[in-house]
Symmetry: C2
Amino acid sequence: METQEKEQICPRFHRAIELVGKRWTGAIIRVLMNGPRRFTEILEAIPGLHDRLLSERLKELEAAGIVQRIVYPETPVRIEYTLTEMGKDLERVVNEVQRWANRWFPPPPS
Amino acid sequence: METQEKEQICPRFHRAIELVGKRWTGAIIRVLMNGPRRFTEILEAIPGLHDRLLSERLKELEAAGIVQRIVYPETPVRIEYTLTEMGKDLERVVNEVQRWANRWFPPPPS
């Protein structure tokens, strides 16, 4: 795509990267790739993330159709967050980001 | 990766997604995938992006080793921004985000 008329970024690409790349969102999706998780499990898996922000991000991801909130009518009530089909389809994006990160960033100190 | 000890997100993944997903950054990388571009060309390709923010993002991407600023000693001086090898290696990430966006978002009105 060279500049013929006027070069403009694809609006769908832009929307997708702004949604998935939003602060903490990529990390939350990454955690849920491993399976359904409770709120506190997600929180513990992401150092530095606080509960108010996680709650906000999960609501955004629910509204976008990427995450589903499932309430199990047990006592006490159990609530889990899981990826929808749309969310699971981000696996290839997640894998490519991981591959790129492994190649270009030094391994964390063990 | 089920919770054996304590499930924690990969720090390299987190760093990568926060870097690439930062507001406007994904769009800038997408434009530079098409080849070297001048500052104003990038600006025009991304509706809503303003010059101060583009300047800031380009500096961040330079510092991260993803973008290179090339000065051609012509009159007047020509300055172009291009992806480094590390930046070009994001092509598979960009392609997967585009594929996902095409699948899940309705096409823009033509």
